[in-house]
């Protein structure tokens, strides 16, 4: 399915939605496998919050791009190249440290994005953001608590956290990329300005890492492409699993 939306706002909303859906699915993969029962519930709670945000954003995207597609069509009937999520959210769960670091980096970004989007000139996106920011505050708190305990924990937990940070850090550059789409929606004051989001994100992440005795990696290699539908290898496998049921049984419902 190829739907090229003329309106940059539609593309922007779709990026936000895909970020939420993909991370939601990654977190859902922890279900029944988390280190403890309590953490199992916590991670799937976060996954459900993100799924709710994705649904609202897909609904808004369908209005903006004029296709009127259903949430299921966006989630289950698009191919890998049609997904415009950032690369960070699709990265594999790894060990618990990788999941925690991924959540810390992304939730900090999402919090600043929703905060700014709360003042969007698109009233519906503003309403979605206002509701989502409360949820994301909790996601960030959860990830921060674990980062502090594992970063400043045992030698082994510190080593794993630092290594997860080194692994995922390169993918954060993409979060703040600008292109024709972001320029357009920022100019129309629909979206958060990536430069301002980055400044707030930098400060928030740096503070947590310092408190957790983790070293902020140097910025170097910065993979990109997610916003254009060019994904890392692991994404195709995730999508195949996520979409299998709906594609095998078209129109399947609970």
């Amino acid at each position: 399915m190829t739907a090229v939306a003329a309106d940059a706002a539609a593309v922007y909303a779709l990026r936000l939605a895909d970020d939420c859906l993909v991370l939601s699915h990654r977190l859902a993969q922890w279900s029944s496998r988390a280190p403890t029962l309590e953490e199992d519930v916590a991670l799937t709670n976060v996954a459900l919050d993100l799924l709710g945000q994705a649904r609202a954003l897909y609904a808004r995207t369908a209005e903006l791009d004029g296709t009127g597609r259903s949430e299921d069509e966006y989630a289950f009937l698009r191919d890998e190249r049609d997904f415009v999520n950032c690369l960070l959210v699709e990265q594999e769960n790894g060990d618990f440290a990788v999941t925690v670091v991924r959540q810390l980096l992304f939730s900090a970004y999402q919090r600043e994005t929703w905060r700014a989007l709360g003042m969007s000139t698109d009233a519906q996106l503003a309403a979605i953001a206002a509701r989502a920011v409360k949820e994301v505050n909790y996601h960030l708190d959860h990830a921060t608590q674990w980062t502090l305990r594992l970063g400043d924990g045992t030698g082994e937990s510190h080593r794993r956290m630092q290594s997860a940070l080194e692994e995922l850090w390169p993918y954060t550059a993409e979060l703040f990329e600008t292109d024709a789409v972001t320029d357009d929606v920022v100019a129309r004051r629909i979206a958060a300005d990536p430069h301002e989001v980055r400044a707030a994100w930098d400060a928030s992440v740096a503070q947590t890492l310092r408190a957790a005795t983790l070293e902020r990696p140097a910025t170097g290699w910065a993979p990109t492409g997610g916003r254009q539908g060019l994904h890392t290898e692991c994404f195709g496998y995730m999508l195949a699993e996520m979409q299998h049921l709906h594609r095998a049984h078209p129109g399947a419902r609970w």
Binding site: P35, T36, E38, V41, A42, N45, Q145, R149
Partner: protein, 96 residues
């Protein structure tokens, strides 16, 4: 965490939206009090069950033992006059 070493156990008390007092709702494992609070939020308040949470280390609770049941509770069984059933409740009092 997966090698069978459990984090400490915590008892969870939740005050419901209706007010009144905190009620015991269950227990869970957590590394420390702050994590216990967050776990309690995730495990026990997903359906708007509460507006306030207490967590208490299970080890801090002193419990009566089954051996003490008779001396503790039995003497109360035949003292009906201790129950407030002999008073007339004024009409104006809606809840007692």
């Amino acid at each position: 965490m997966t090698d069978g070493v459990h984090e400490p156990l915590w008892e969870v008390f939740i005050r419901s939206r209706r007010g009144l007092s905190h009620n015991h709702v269950g227990s869970l494992h957590a590394a420390d009090a702050q994590m216990a609070l967050r776990n309690a939020r995730d495990v026990f308040t997903r359906r708007m069950e509460g507006i306030s949470i207490w967590v208490v280390p299970s080890a801090a609770i002193t419990a009566s033992s089954p051996d003490e049941r008779d001396p503790f509770f039995d003497p109360a069984a035949d003292k009906a006059y201790r129950h407030p059933t002999f008073y007339d409740i004024p009409k104006e009092v809606k809840q007692l």
